[in-house]
Amino acid sequence: MKKILTREFNYSIDYQVSYGELSPFFEGLTKKKLMGTRCAACKKSYATPRLNCMECGKPCKWIELPQEGKVHTWTTCHYGSEEFLKQTPYHLVLVEFPGVSTLFQSQLKKVKEGTITIGMNIKAEFKKRPLLKASDVYFVPA
């Protein structure tokens, strides 16, 4: 067989991604607030904001969420995507808030892997210097 040639190169891009109608959530993080939404018609509430109701399709209004909740499920990542390899191990959780219909995904910090349990009480903390990213909030044991 003939020799197979390969070429190595780098490719990088600068983006300016808009949060558009979701901006109030990210602005909330800079003010240490968790902003979700609630359907004015059927009262279903969303821990991760949705601007139209998943059930009835009607417009939702912004609401401030509680900052304490429970672990609905969790994992500890010992590997990750290339961007996050240096953070490993890190803990992912889906958070349940009292009275809110859906969950919220976040990282759980200040805790050891073997001690995380479903149902455990946790509370939000916010980064001192927000980067306008969903990771500006994380949870810790309450």
Partner: protein, 416 residues
């Protein structure tokens, strides 16, 4: 709608890297196999194609689909690209089905590929994680193994599923792959080896996860008239179903179980569904496909299933979504031996994604090809051994799944 048949198929060997071929070279290899298997087929019989590949990033090429269609010599016939994460192959197969059923085409080539070796493994994981919400999911440490790990931790909590039961899925699928010459990861493993391999995201170890692959697959579909003309052993597609769920795992509702025809409401009265333990789209896709194929009891009516086992845990969840057992009893299903060769409804006799490999855009079509050969009774011809050929299979199901159960297809294939 017209009847639709699969009349030929081909797959490349799936490997970690196939640097000796471009993506169009891989598609050509799979196509040549499908073409040479059907001596009466001529290029002029082919009306068009559908391309299946997941990520433009892996190929560093936009419009990669037309390049393969072009290389196959199918220009100027029509072609289009289908994309839906891991379910891309299943969606592509159904798109080709629709082209025939609607009467737009009489012969349609569904081809799929992915060349994932072009980037490092963890960069590849990053591309895959970009198929989660880039605003709300990805920045937290976007990693699909992590998402599936959270799903199965909840499954374990609700139903008592164990990591040892998950390990049994890996043993079965890597073991089946030993008889499949196209497979990437044939292995003889023990529960201990799987549990002791590196932890990726608790409880999923490296051996609970499928690996990335380079590879391609081709399925050729035809109308009844053309199937009769070209093939002496066509397989009929008797049921198609597909469904979706929310992009974010966090948004999944806690509602009622969509019941299959052999289930009743009472069994699930205390269960919040799907939450994050089950894949509602898989259930709804199966429900549609069963209705169309007149399947009443999937465990009895299906001779085998090829399903999307990106993780051992997802195979267990899918047993339940497809109704091979009740929701929550997926762990018991693998324990029962019914998923093994000789069981009531064997699952992933090809090795699945865990054993055969996962070249994303090719995987759903690879399943179609293996199901096709199984139903044709041509496993010996194609695998050079008869080990996992089911005796007189009647009906098989292929299940293709993307995201965290975000796009799912279920397709029933039947020996006419």
């Amino acid at each position: 709608m017209r009847q639709v048949y699969m009349i030929s198929g081909g797959v490349t060997r799936f490997k970690k890297a196939r640097p000796e071929k471009t993506h169009q070279g891989l598609v050509q290899e799979a196509f040549d196999q499908a073409y040479s298997d059907l001596p009466r087929l001529r290029k002029e019989h082919i009306d068009g194609s559908v391309a299946s590949y997941f990520s433009d990033h892996f190929h560093h090429q936009l419009m990669a689909g037309i390049m393969a269609h072009d290389a196959l010599g199918l220009v100027p016939k029509p072609s289009r690209r289908i994309e839906g994460g891991g379910a891309t192959g299943g969606l592509c197969f159904q798109s080709a089905y629709e082209a025939i059923a609607s009467g737009r085409m009489d012969v349609c080539v569904a081809f799929g590929f992915e060349t994932m070796s072009r980037v490092r493994t963890w960069k590849g994981n990053e591309f895959i994680a970009m198929a989660s919400d880039m605003n709300f999911d990805y920045p937290l440490g976007g990693f699909y193994t992590g998402y599936y790990a959270m799903m199965v931790v909840r499954h374990m909590h609700e139903f008592g599923t164990t990591p040892e039961q998950m390990a049994k899925v890996a043993i079965k699928n890597h073991g089946n792959a030993k008889h499949n010459p196209f497979a990437q990861s044939p292995k003889k493993l023990s529960v201990k080896q799987i549990r002791n391999s590196q932890m990726v995201a608790y409880p999923l170890t490296r051996l609970d996860c499928c690996v990335m692959s380079d590879g391609a697959a081709v399925a050729i579909l035809a109308s009844e008239k053309m199937a009769e003309k070209l093939s002496s052993n066509p397989i009929r597609i008797t049921g198609v179903g597909s469904a979706t769920d929310t992009m974010r795992l966090a948004d999944r509702p806690f509602g009622d179980v969509p019941l299959l025809s052999n289930e009743n409401k009472k069994e699930y009265k205390d269960l919040d569904y799907p939450g994050v333990h089950s894949c509602r789209a898989g259930r709804l896709a199966a429900k549609q496909a069963y209705k169309m194929a007149k399947i009443k009891d999937p465990l009895k009516d299906l001779s085998f299933v090829e399903l999307h086992d990106a993780f051992t845990s997802s195979e267990i969840q899918t047993y339940e979504d497809l109704g091979l057992c009740k929701i929550g009893e997926g762990g018991k299903y693998i324990d029962s031996g019914n998923a093994h060769y000789g069981g009531k409804c064997p699952v992933n006799l090809s090795g699945g994604l865990i054993g055969a490999g996962h070249a994303i855009g090719a995987s759903g079509l690879m399943q179609a090809v293996f199901a096709f050969w199984q139903l044709q009774g041509t496993i010996k011809k194609h695998f050079k051994n008869n080990k996992l050929q089911i005796k007189k299979p009647k009906r098989g199901l292929i299940h293709s799944h993307g995201g965290t159960g975000t796009y799912v297809t279920a397709t029933v294939m039947e020996k006419p």
